[in-house]
Subunit: 579 residues, 2 copies
């Protein structure tokens, strides 16, 4: 350790002063050749890079799943890298609901971004600031540093880029329902989780005060969760466990008055999961005494009451103690503004192509929750595909001709593969055969109209990817790989044939690999939906799930912290201090 | 575990419904005799206590060192106990400076008060509220519940008492110096420490921003600590370690600009310690590059500058990044108001007698930092002491007469013992002999004037106790013991003779036992001042110190948490996330 830091010291001195010869002499005397060679090598590298052609500037906005995954996987010696984010840490969001009740501590699920930077080659810069304007015309971003609310200190600055990687995630969506912003908690950031934790304890302390009647106590202990998605459901489950396992002992006199209620506009909760999981969760909540209001829309939230409506009941209000709003995500203002500038003003979400390049710009990429891939449709390109495939210009495609472009075709239009799978067909030939009716496999030959007809429905399989950590992380590492191979692939492109245009695409398009999804339901119960329609429901351990999840993104440090938190909880229960 | 909670269930059902016979029958059938006997015994006890003479109401204000120590040691089955405090936890303040830099986590140094209550007999009530008025005339306190600043929820209520134990500690003292309240951090509460931690990180992030010149960076990294007492010194040391051990690696480009400065109005820091310790600390700070400004008074603090003055320099200002104010303690407003009501309006601190009873009230006690013991002077009582001792009314005291009251005399006026010790005398007889000059020990006989003359200087040894956790904790447990023995001692008083009045005092007066004081100075260095002028300086481990300190007040839970924090820091360093 000491030696390594001496090393660092020395090589820094080297870079700083470039007193190359002096140092070589001193060190050769002091420490022998090995060390010199090392320092030498380092300094050569540094010299080369600082005197050589200047590196391209890569600016990363955001330190969430997508941004951090990009940063981790990027060969940072190739670029001049700057990271901009209002948070100087990465947060492992799947454990956020556990922070709300102290099952896990906030600090255990965050990793300082500078820890990550330190382990990488080259000098990476981090600015703790928020980007409030993207200026694609001048290739720069406007940033603002904001300290704690009461300090009044703000500062703005500009950062130029050659490549911009937007990974700023999404904001909580209130659908502009009145009073939500002011009166509800959200669960997006670590601070949100900490606030919720304090608020839960406050509700219990408030309900325990001497001068309240029973109705007031009940009101204080009425916890409302709006939104039956995974986050809302998991928070409800965590809260239920916290109340029944820990708070029941500490607040015996009011514990019986607690009511946890989940309000969901749809007919069921967890609709993004398989029906069996959704049903299982609903039944478990019923057994736990969690009140499930499906088919209810919240229309207003005041300081004391929450107003909702359903078809059968009409509008009515309920007093509540604390409300958590978790109904999905929306686009951040800075992205809305950016979209207007680049002609995407009429879209709901920022669109990228399959290489994660923002449509309509140059050198700007977007990954994670802040953008959505707009998959090119087969129908739009059918004539071009046909033209390229029809090498002999015969006006028909033979089996051989089709097979020659098949790999590129599937790579460029992944919906084709999905479509075949959905039809339980093994290849495009089967599809064409099926569409033509009688012809035998070998003899098949299609003209453009037949080709178009056979592929009509293929685009129905275009799917938007879910806004999950898995997608964001995969996009980040995919993009980093592209950046790492930028030089190589200029000469040796590795992507599919360009059907519109000539040659090949520089890279393969992004492809998402789904590893399954997990829904913790409290009381050590959980449901998992794995690829290929596998479902697993029951008594599962969060440990297992976490170890799968954590495998890539999370450092050993945070892993140990989380495990030590679980151990603490196991031994001592959760902490109930209001802080 | 399950069995125990079934037990609790059952016995609660018992108490709630008093369906005594029904339950006995059911349970005898269901579970056999052992269980019934237990529930029976519990319920008898409960019945006795709720149907017997109503218990006296003890109200405790505050859950700090004094209040918690009182609560822990009180036999709570004897009283109807209510605890009122704005914090529902006890905080182990000696580790607060470590929280400012993340050496220890905030949650590891707090213990939920309800955890403590749960382990005690009888039903203790806790109200999370602040007492804003004490009303001794009507024997009640006015309380206010205040939630998080933005909720706007406040509620007031009244609590009656038979005995009131005031243990609300002190507030930070700004000496009304302009701008201190608004611009400085304090270090009294857990939240303060958390804010400081965030603020330190903010300063580093701010200093790293791209658009600053070197002066601005330096300003942001200028940390000012006002006050060279143990808290200020320890914070400075912690900050220095944090910066040099962790932040230097994460912020290599700005690390060199950091300046830590301690401003102290007196000539030295740590003046409450032995000179050798004070000197050692000053030298260590010098070696560490901590800037020590002794003999400087701060006269104003603005948002950007701190203004100070010394005899030699006159007034001047310095830009700063963050300032921590730690110059001692003052009286809380509610106590100031209370003092006015009970005729103590012209005093600086609330006075109690040697039994910790607030002077001028009935049934009100004060412990810890919020009060100070006003030790009765010997001179004031000299005639009465003489009268009581002179059993034969001869007008002179013989050796025998003196020896008969000696124990009571020393117990009532501890300054006597201290005075003898300071003069290196072994008994009062030596003192009298010394004062009379010639007489031999056996023949000694003194009249009132000789007695008065000999004792003239004794009161110079009256000392106010320091505002420390040790004093507060000892006062709390002393008072609890008195409460526990209240009944017994009414008939069999255990205190010294009443020199003014007749009979004996019900209890012995409070006596403080000093176990030494510890000053962590950073870098695993520490100084300890032990009783009897022992001093120990050098490379000490905080572990040892903590294990001594923690021995009584702290649960196994928090002890393990602290140790696990230290282990984490040892392995991974401190966390640098801004949160
Ligand atoms: C409570 C909760 C639980 C979840 N559980 C799961 C789960 O179990 N599994 C799963 O797959 N997914 C889960 N998700 C979803 C997952 O967290 C998101 O899909 C993922 O975080 C998206 O990654 P991202 O990088 O796009 O955005 P984020 O992770 O949100 O990161 C956005 C980053 O951008 C920064 N930023 C914001 N505004 C600006 C700005 N103006 N300028 C610069 N930077 C900015 C933010 O500070 C942040 O660092 C959960 C989400 C939540 C809220
Ligand atoms: C940073 C720091 C480090 C320290 N280190 C040491 C050390 O190493 N060794 C040592 O001996 N001492 C140390 N001390 C001093 C020690 O903490 C105090 O002497 C001790 O806390 C005093 O105990 P207390 O119970 O009187 O007050 P506190 O511990 O301050 O407790 C006061 C209690 O009253 C509550 N309260 C406040 N206002 C009201 C109200 N209006 N109504 C009801 N309740 C109220 C508070 O919430 C709190 O619970 C340190 C102090 C600090 C701040």
């Amino acid at each position: 350790m000491r030696f390594a830091s001496f090393f660092d010291e020395v090589s820094r001195a080297f870079r700083d002063r470039t007193a190359f010869f002096k140092l070589v002499v001193i060190m050769a005397g002091a420490s022998g050749g090995g060390l010199v060679a090392y320092a030498d090598a380092r300094s050569d590298l540094d010299l080369a890079s600082s005197h050589g052609p200047t590196k391209k500037k890569v600016v990363i906005l955001g330190t969430g799943w997508a941004g951090t995954s990009f940063l981790r996987n990027l060969d940072s010696s190739l670029y001049d890298v700057q990271v901009i984010s209002p948070r100087n840490y990465f947060a492992f969001t799947p454990l956020l609901p556990s922070v709300t009740c102290g099952t896990v501590e906030a600090r255990s699920i965050v990793e300082p971004i500078r820890n990550i930077m330190r382990k990488k080659k080259g000098e990476i810069k981090f600015w703790e600031a928020e980007c409030f304007k993207i200026d694609p015309a001048n290739k720069r971003v406007h940033c603002r540093y904001t300290t704690a609310p009461n300090s009044g200190w703000t500062d703005e600055f500009l950062v130029n880029y050659d490549y911009l990687v937007i990974a700023i995630g999404a904001r909580a969506n209130t659908f502009n329902i009145p009073g939500v912003e002011e009166n509800c908690h959200f669960l997006k950031e670590v601070e949100d989780a900490q606030k919720i934790r304090r608020s839960v304890m406050d509700c219990f302390e408030r309900a325990s005060l001497p001068n309240l009647d029973e109705d007031e106590r009940k009101k204080n202990l009425h916890f409302v969760i709006v939104g039956g998605g995974p986050t809302g459901v998991e928070f409800a489950a965590e809260l239920h466990d916290f109340v029944s396992e820990d708070l029941s002992k500490l607040y015996p006199s009011v514990y019986g008055l607690v009511k946890i209620e989940v309000i969901e506009a749809g007919e069921h909760i967890l609709t993004m999961f398989d029906k069996r999981i959704s049903r299982f969760a609903e039944e478990k909540f019923q057994r736990d005494g969690i009140d499930l209001k499906t088919g209810f829309r919240v229309v207003k939230v005041s300081e004391k009451e929450i107003t909702m409506a359903s078809k059968s009941t009409g509008e009515f209000s309920e007093p509540y103690g604390m409300a958590v709003w978790s109904t999905g995500i929306g686009t951040r203002p800075v992205i809305v503004d950016f979209m207007k500038q680049i002609g995407q003003g009429n879209r709901r979400v920022l669109a990228t192509d399959e290489w994660l390049r923002v449509c309509g710009c140059d050198g700007i990429y977007a990954v994670g929750d802040c953008a959505s891939i707009s998959q090119r449709k087969v129908v739009e390109d059918i004539a071009e595909i046909f033209r390229i495939a029809d090498k002999d210009n015969s006006g028909t495609l033979t089996v051989k001709e089709i097979q020659d472009v098949l790999e590129d075709f599937c790579m460029r239009y992944p919906q084709l593969e999905l479509y075949l799978k959905s039809k339980r067909m093994s290849s495009i030939l089967e599809l064409l055969k099926d569409s033509k009716g009688d012809a035998t496999k070998e003899a098949i030959e299609v003209d453009i109209e037949e080709f178009r007809k056979a592929l009509t429905d293929v685009d129905s399989q275009v799917k938007t990817l879910p806004a999950t950590a898995q997608v964001a992380a995969q996009q980040g590492s995919y993009l980093a790989r592209c950046f790492n191979k930028m030089k190589d692939t200029e000469e040796h492109p590795e992507g599919p044939l360009r059907f519109r245009g000539s040659g090949r695409h520089q890279f393969r398009p992004f492809r998402y690999k789904h590893f399954g999804q997990f829904a913790p339901l409290g009381g050590e119960q959980a449901a998992a939906q794995l690829p290929g329609d596998w479902i697993s429901i029951g008594h599962s351990s969060q440990w297992l799930w976490y170890s799968v999840y954590a495998s890539k993104q999370v450092s050993w440090r945070t892993r140990l912290l989380v495990i030590s938190d679980w151990t603490k909880r196991f031994i001592f229960g959760r902490d109930s201090s209001c802080m």
